[in-house]
Amino acid sequence: MITVLLAIFIPFIAACLVPFVHKFLTGRKIGWFVIIVPLLLFILLLRLVPSLSHGATYTYSLPWIPSADVYFLTYLDGLSMIFALLITGIGSLVVFYSIFYLSEREAIGRFYTYLLLFMGAMLGVVLSDNLIVLYVFWELTSISSFLLIAFWFHRKQSRYGAKKSMLITVTGGIFMLAGFLMLYTMTGTFSLRELIGMRDIIAADSLFIPAMLLVLLGAFTKSAQFPFHIWLPDAMEAPTPVSAYLHSATMVKAGIYLVARFTPVFAGHAVWFYIVSCVGLLTMLWGSVNAVKQTDLKALLAFSTVSQLGMIMSLLGVGSLAFASSESSHVALFTAATFAALFHLVNHSTFKGSLFMVVGILDHQLGTRNIRRLGGLATIMPITFTIALIGSFSMAGLPPFNGFLSKELFFEAMLSLKNANLLTMDSLALLFPIVAWVGSVFTFIYCMVIVFQSFLGKVPEPFPGQRPAHEAPIQMLVAPIVLGSLVLLIFFFPNILGTYILGPAMLAVYPHLGNMEGLVPEIHVWHGWKAPVFMTLGVIIAGTLLYRYLRYWKGVYRLGVLQWTLDRFYNGTLLRMERVATRVTRGYMTGSVRDYVAYIMLIFIAFIGIGLAGFQQFVFDFSNDAPIEMNEGVIVFVMMCSSVAVLFARSRITAIILNGVLGYSIAILFVVFRAPDLALTQIIVETVTTVLFLLCFYFLPEWRAEHRAVSMRWRNGLIAAASGVIVTVVALLVQGHSLYPTISIYYETASRIAGGLNVVNTILGDFRAFDTMLEVLVLFIAGLGVFSLVKLRRKKGVDRPEEK
């Protein structure tokens, strides 16, 4: 299905076009061009929803690098669909919102380029079937997130937050890649769908646990699970639309996606259940407890996102038990947990997105997000207040908002653990609901903080912001209103969402159950006086009491604050690593080219020497060699003379000329041996190098006689002699052996396959085009490197531009 492929590529193409279109659509008008992309994709994807709900899936395969088993296989099923709809749907709203949020002075073109880059990468993550392709997109989301967090790069905090998020998520990603490679060694495939089919093979393998842990590490770092959550609060330095989009609705959910996606591969094992659910619950508790003490509204929302992500994660952990249960009634109980996870995933995106936008509005209108300086805004900004009320109450789990429904399902899932016969865990079965309940109480408290401390109470004096505050312009309110209405709509019609969107996704998580029957529980607003209802009531009562007397017990936060030790650990590790790296680098970077050449040669000698040592048959076969002609002998003699003479040259120019003699003699040798390509290249390279040499003359120090220690000279002489011997030995050995069948026959067909008679060129341009392309890239990067080193040297006493 080409739509799916387009969904990945259109954002990238649009990102390339943004700088050009920006010339015509100046200022923030460029946003209207950008918004077409997510909107169009959203509609295209929406059209596929009905067929997906009947169990259809769409694949589209494109061989990318088939020789390395990397296929660009897109795969759209229910699970991908939820995420793709969130990415494009929330994406449209965020772009719309950002058009009015950003001021004309900002680098708007850059902002939208990054945003589109992210959109494409994120769609790539959820729509790829090949693990390597998924990994590439995964890291691309980290990079685009880095760029977006550092959007205001003149701020030190932004740069710090960007670096932190990048380091943590990319490190996790690399671990995940290692996990993928382990999966490949187990099964021989990178395809997700094939992996799911080989569940039993993977479970029996000794690499099962390591691979699982590595994949989970990738998921946990991305989804800001404890103890990797520390990057998310610092990521709030990004512009608010970015926080709403990347850091609450989409990117941080990539980890959730990965866990859900790999549930059919790994689930059923006790380790998977314990790690996913315990880390999730701990994160939920930790995030919500920390959120209460925040005074910056965005930091509060960041911790609440951490907490909510933990809640979804723990639900997925409970859902994995369905693979270990045999009784159908229990299976239904545990699949309901996964259903709750997916349901809450959607709900969270709606209410958290709207809350972020509300905070953005406050920041935009008043210039502050500090709750101590806010208050009494309900009468001044009634619409904003209403949206904030809807969002917060939904997050707190109150009716009539969608968060209530998923919170009830959450409690039910936690209570269902007593039915798990997989493990002996009577005490845990009790502990889980309690932790969940405590976390929910704190969630309730910080939700109340958002609503009551910023919108009710007295208007603070002096009033923040220069102008008298008034309601935000309607354009900025559209997006949060849409999300707020969704919060209400989902509450009243949850089962439409359940059947059409969540059902197919459930099938993707539980493919072994065959069909959607029984996987989609009917969601009821009211289901009798059962335990979840009492838990919710308890949350409301305890939460209200605690909120009421918040100022009396807030001092508790000053006691043990693990948050700061974690942050300190991160900062300390970074500092120590930098110190060690500096010391190591200083140790061998002497600044003397002679030393560097010695390193290179030593490594060459070591590796080839080891290789030769393992090589048994030293046979020098001279029988096939052509007789040496007189003229060849002369050329070689000239070469030898000139190279020896270099050693005794008294001035640098003599040395260069002698070196040139050597080079041109080689070229002549090539001519004699009828290799015009090599001869041509050699001559031109020699010419250009000589010019370069002459240019560098200016910078080189006086050519002095060496005053180095004798031992040093011996060392260098030894290295030189050893490398010469090794090259000679290898050259002679190659003549006498044919370890592999000759490949030249293959190239006889070159003209037919590649349409060229010049074999060298067909190799460069066709058979090994991948190498050539990368070489071109390397050359380009090297050129830019030289240019920037020479041109953009920092003048002393001038500040670095980013610190101005």
Partner: protein, 136 residues
């Protein structure tokens, strides 16, 4: 003065030679890399004989951009082959009947090689210029 006059002519001879090398590379010795090198040596000659400002006036383009264009071409042909549903970087050729050249074979490899040539040209001139401008 003599050198300058000679260079004026030789420059174009070298340029032509570079292009010729590049085009003939498909079936005869030559190719993108060497073509690019020859082209850049022509420019280096110009810079040696005239001063940088004069040449800058004559060549109103930035060599960094030339290099970037080259990389774009080289990578672009690879990506384009993806869009046509064939593996990354697979090349194809077709016979064209062009008005001047007669029966000519054109392949995407030529574009790829052009990318290589432009990158080499851009990078070499950028490096040499960068260093030589620093001297002044």
């Amino acid at each position: 003065m003599i050198l300058q006059t000679v260079t004026k002519i030789v420059f174009f001879i070298i340029l032509t030679f570079g292009v010729e090398l590049f085009i003939s590379g498909h079936n005869n010795p030559g190719g993108g890399f060497i073509g690019g090198l020859v082209l850049s040596s022509a420019f280096v000659l110009l810079y040696l004989v005239y001063d940088i400002e004069t040449v800058h006036r004559g060549t109103p383009f930035d060599f960094k951009r030339v290099a970037a264009l080259g990389v774009l071409l080289a990578v672009g042909t690879g990506v384009l082959s993806l869009l046509f549903g064939v593996p990354f970087l697979s090349q194809s050729t077709r016979e064209f009947d062009l008005p001047v050249f007669g029966e000519t074979e054109l392949g995407t490899m030529t574009i790829f090689e052009a990318g290589v040539a432009l990158t080499v040209l851009g990078v070499v001139v950028t490096i040499i210029l960068g260093i030589s401008e620093d001297v002044e």
